[in-house]
């Protein structure tokens, strides 16, 4: 496999980075980087860490990094995560208020602990912490419940004080969305599976409306709604496809149950990602009050279920 840290890769301009990722030869990982500067979204680090954690350290080849910003990768815990030594002196700073380094979460209790510890680390006000805790809980639980991997979820986050933005990246190397959703649906392509996973009331655990006792099929819909309403980016990559929610330009905010009706971008026929990758930005200044967001979600969610039920109604035959 081959992955390259570019000069810049955030959700708005992440497409070239994703397109350059090469998953051939999965027994080896070659890491290269821009020589001058590396400025990347946490999702990029989560991806590299997830790939590298499947490969023994002697099979990971990381070129000597020359960019001044290489310290960032070390501070986020990338090299220790990959168990590769890197000759670099780092001054350890207090991490509070800045970032959450790469962390692996393997079970429910670890997730609860992570969320509890995360809020003081990021120095968030309660109104800002609420959607962030929500997003992380739902995304990591998706991995724990649906990815079918003992390796869990790999997560990291960065707070950007200037733009008042939190960027979060989560990656896993599990079965991916298509296999998970096809437990009870029939998606022919990875993109179709991603579309189903983002649609309210659709869960891989059952075809029945109402979900199961454990799954409602709403987690990813809630998350893309949080991004949409706050006019932030959200991306999801699984198998050979990526869906990216673009920043909304609508004045009057409306949520669509069909993710393809939203302003979005799709990449298909990408190098195969075994598992699922999710990246999201949450702007703290623009964060709509969470309870108002829930009103919007409720309307769309219930209308969608109602419409879907109506489609199944048997029609009277007037002869």
């Amino acid at each position: 496999m081959r992955i390259h840290f570019p000069n810049s890769a955030f959700l708005g301009n992440i497409d070239p980075f994703i397109k350059n990722f090469d998953s051939e030869n999965p027994e080896v990982l070659n890491i290269t980087a821009n020589k001058k500067w590396i400025s990347v979204h946490p999702v990029v680090l989560s991806m590299v860490a997830a790939l590298g954690s499947k490969i023994p350290a002697p099979k990971i080849f990381c070129e000597k990094l020359e960019a001044k910003s290489k310290h960032y990768l070390a501070r986020m815990g990338l090299f220790s995560f990959l168990s590769i030594s890197y000759d670099m002196k780092i001054t350890e700073h207090e991490s509070a208020g800045r970032f959450i380094p790469l962390t692996r979460i393997k079970n429910s209790d670890e997730l609860t602990r992570f969320i509890t510890d995360m809020v003081p680390l990021l120095h968030l006000e309660p109104k800002h912490a609420e959607p962030i805790k929500y997003v992380i809980s739902e995304l990591v639980r998706n991995v724990l419940e649906h990815a079918n991997t003992p390796d869990g979820a790999i997560i990291c986050a960065q707070y950007y004080d200037k733009s008042k933005l939190i960027r979060i990246g989560i990656a896993d190397t599990g079965v991916g969305i298509k296999q998970s959703i096809n437990f009870s649906h029939n998606a022919h392509t990875h993109l179709e599976a991603i579309k189903l996973a983002l649609t309210p009331g659709i869960t891989g655990t059952t075809r029945h409306e109402g979900g199961t006792e454990y799954n409602m099929g709403a987690g990813l819909f809630f998350i893309r709604s949080i991004a949409k309403v706050n006019r932030d980016f959200f991306m999801i990559y699984s198998g050979d496809s990526m869906y990216k929610l673009l920043k909304s330009k609508q004045n009057r905010l409306e949520l669509f149950s069909d993710p393809f009706q939203e302003r979005h971008k799709i990449l298909e026929h990408l190098s195969y990602w075994n598992g699922t990758v999710v990246g999201i930005d949450i702007s703290l200044e623009a964060t709509k009050e969470f309870s108002k967001l829930l009103d919007l979600i409720r309307g769309t969610f219930v209308d969608t279920i109602r419409e879907r039920r109506k489609e199944k109604y048997r029609k009277p035959r007037f002869i």
Binding site: S108, D109, L111, T112, I115, T116, P126, E130, K133, Y134, S137, E138, R141, G201, H208, E209, G210, G211, E213, Y214, N215, M216, A218, G219, F222, F290, S291, L294, D295, I297, R298, F301, V302, I305, R306, R309
Partner: protein, 96 residues
């Protein structure tokens, strides 16, 4: 009337679905089985995920019917918790 203090089990951010499932199986359903009404007291719980509330309540409605809603009371809920409970309840009633 059975009273369950959610904070004692789930903390201020109720998101652990395993905790929700245990509360449902061990406390809510057994109480309703013996015709005892249940109060779910959310004091101290600032927020909850839909996954938590769904794991807590959906199977009660599925197994005991929509009438079971009349035998459950939700106390000291923040606006967020109220709205998430409402979404899950609406959803379950639409879906049943």
């Amino acid at each position: 009337m059975k009273k369950i203090m959610i904070y004692e089990y789930a903390g201020s951010f109720a998101e652990n679905k395993d905790v929700a499932r245990d509360l449902r199986i061990q406390q809510i359903i057994p109480s309703l089985d013996i015709k005892e009404d249940v109060t779910l007291d959310f004091s101290g719980v600032d927020s909850a995920t839909q996954s938590f509330i769904h794991a807590l309540l959906s199977d009660v409605i599925r197994k005991k019917g929509v009438e079971s809603i009349d035998h459950m009371y939700f106390e000291n809920c923040t606006e967020t918790v109220q709205k998430i409970i409402t979404i899950v309840m609406d959803y379950m009633q639409e879906a049943l």
